[in-house]
C-alpha cells in the first residue's frame, strides 16, 4: 500500500491505495468524484481527462502514486458558486452533448485547449486538438461550435479585464 497526497479542486486530500491503483479509480472511488469517467481500456477515448499540474492528462493511464504531490482539477472543480464555467455553459447552449458520457473529458480538454491557444482557436485546430476524445453521439459538430464559442467568450472576458 502507498500513501497518495493530492490537491484536488483546491482541497488537499490523502489516501491509502495500492501502487497499481489508477488515478481515475482513486478519484472516483476514494474521493467519490464520479464526474470523471472511464470509457475504454485502450487509453484512446478521453472520457477520463483531468488536469494535472495544469495540463490535460488521461487519468486512466496514470497511477495514483505517479500523480502524488500534484495538483489535480476534475470536472467538479470547474464551476463557480452556482454558476457554470464558460465552457460548460457553451456546451449547454450549443447542444455539445447528448448522452453526456464523454462530456467531462471533452470539457476538461476544451479548457486545456483554450488555456494553450487562448483566443486563437479555429475550427481545424479544435478538431485536431480533439484527437484524443471520442464521442459516440454528437458527431463532434456541436462540440466544436461550443469550444469556439467558449474561446471567443473567454478571450473577450480577458480583454475586458485588461
Amino acid at each position: 500500500m502507498a500513501k497518495v497526497t493530492l490537491t484536488v479542486n483546491g482541497r488537499t486530500v490523502s489516501g491509502e491505495c495500492e501502487e497499481r491503483t489508477l488515478l481515475v479509480h482513486f478519484i472516483r472511488e476514494k474521493l467519490g468524484l464520479t464526474g470523471t469517467h472511464v470509457g475504454c481500456d485502450t487509453s484512446q477515448c478521453g472520457a477520463c481527462v483531468v488536469h494535472m499540474d495544469g495540463h490535460s492528462v488521461k487519468s486512466c493511464s496514470i497511477l495514483a502514486v505517479q500523480a502524488s504531490g500534484s495538483t489535480v482539477t476534475t470536472i467538479e472543480g470547474l464551476a463557480g458558486q452556482g454558476e457554470l464555467h464558460p465552457v460548460q455553459a457553451a456546451f449547454k447552449e450549443h447542444h455539445g452533448l447528448q448522452c453526456g458520457f464523454c462530456t467531462p473529458g471533452m470539457v476538461m480538454t476544451a479548457v486545456d485547449m483554450i488555456n494553450r491557444h487562448g483566443g486563437n482557436l479555429d475550427e481545424a485546430t479544435v478538431r485536431a486538438e480533439l484527437e484524443g476524445n471520442i464521442c459516440r453521439c454528437t458527431g463532434y459538430h456541436n462540440i466544436v461550435k461550443a469550444v469556439l464559442a467558449a474561446d471567443a467568450e473567454m478571450s473577450a472576458g480577458r480583454q475586458a479585464a485588461e
Partner: protein
C-alpha cells in the same frame, strides 16, 4: 493490472541503483506505453522506477549547432519549443503529431526511443538526424541503437538520459497516421547536411525503423520531391497487416518521402 511497487528517484544514479535493486523492475517515464501495457497484463514489472522527477533528464538545450533533449522531456514540451521551432521545425512538427494532447503531456522522447515501437515517430527522427542516444553508461549512435521490433541496443537496466544531434541544414517529416491509433502507418523523416542526405522510414518496416538508401542517393544528387519519382520502393521487408498490405505501404513510403522533402523546402 498485476501488483507492483513504486519508487521516485531524483537523480540519474539513484534511478539506476533503484532499478538494479529489484528483479523485474522497469523504468516508467511518461507511462503512455507502459501503463496501458500493464493494464492489459502484457507487462508485469515487480517495481516501477519513475523518471518524471529526475531534473537532469529534462529540458531542451541548443548550444550552437548541437541540440540536447533530456530523455524525460514530454512530447508537448518539444512541440511547443520556440527555440527548436526556429532551429529545426521538423522536430516540433513530429512531436506535435504524436498521439493526442493528453498523450503528449505525459509521453517522453526517451520512453519512445527506448520502446522502439515500429510505428513510433521519434525513431525516424533519431535515425535521419544521425542522433546520439546518451545513456548512464555510454553514447550510442542511432545507426546502432534500433535493432528490431521493440528491440534496442540497451542492456538490462541501462537508462537513456538524453538524445543529442547536430542541427541539419534542412529537414522535413511527413506522416500518414492510422486514423484510429494515431501511430504512423508510414512516416518519413528526411534530413540534409552538406552533401549528405539521410532518409528514415517508420511504421512501414517489418523490422522497425530503417534507412532508404536509394532515396538518400537520389536526394543527395537533387534535393527535390521530383528526384524521388523514378524510385521503385520494394515491398519486401515491409509490414502487411489489417491496416494495409506491403504494396500499399511501399507506395506510402514514396508519397510520404516526397511530402517530407516538400515540407523541408
Amino acid at each position: 493490472m498485476y501488483a507492483t511497487s513504486y519508487h521516485r528517484p531524483s537523480s540519474i544514479s539513484e534511478a539506476a541503483a533503484l532499478l538494479a535493486a529489484t528483479d523485474e523492475a522497469k523504468y516508467v517515464s511518461g507511462g503512455m506505453t507502459l501503463i496501458p501495457t500493464m493494464k492489459q497484463r502484457l507487462a508485469a514489472p515487480a517495481a516501477l522506477v519513475d523518471l518524471r522527477h529526475v531534473a537532469d533528464m529534462k529540458g531542451i538545450h541548443i548550444d550552437g549547432s548541437r541540440v540536447r533533449i533530456g530523455a524525460a522531456t514530454p512530447h508537448a514540451e518539444v512541440a511547443a519549443s520556440s527555440a527548436l521551432r526556429s532551429a529545426c521545425p521538423a522536430v516540433t512538427v513530429l512531436a506535435g503529431l504524436i498521439g493526442d494532447p493528453h498523450v503528449r503531456h505525459m509521453g517522453t522522447i526517451g520512453g519512445s526511443i527506448a520502446n522502439n515501437d515500429p510505428a513510433a515517430d521519434y525513431p525516424a527522427l533519431a535515425l535521419a538526424l544521425g542522433a546520439t542516444i546518451v545513456t548512464d553508461r555510454r553514447e550510442i549512435a542511432a545507426d546502432d541503437f534500433f535493432t528490431g521490433l521493440f528491440e534496442t541496443a540497451l542492456e538490462p537496466g541501462e537508462l537513456v538520459t538524453a538524445i543529442t544531434f547536430d542541427l541539419p541544414e534542412k529537414a522535413g517529416y511527413a506522416k500518414f497516421r492510422n486514423p484510429a491509433s494515431r501511430y504512423a502507418m508510414t512516416g518519413v523523416f528526411v534530413a540534409r547536411r552538406g552533401g549528405s542526405v539521410r532518409v528514415a522510414v517508420t511504421g512501414a518496416g517489418a523490422d522497425g525503423v530503417f534507412r532508404q538508401a536509394d532515396m538518400e542517393a537520389a536526394l543527395a544528387g537533387n534535393w527535390s520531391a521530383d528526384a524521388l519519382s523514378g524510385i521503385a520502393v520494394p515491398s519486401s521487408g515491409l509490414l502487411s497487416d489489417i491496416h494495409g498490405d506491403s504494396d500499399y505501404r511501399a507506395n506510402l513510403v514514396k508519397v510520404m518521402a516526397k511530402r517530407a522533402v516538400l515540407a523541408a523546402g
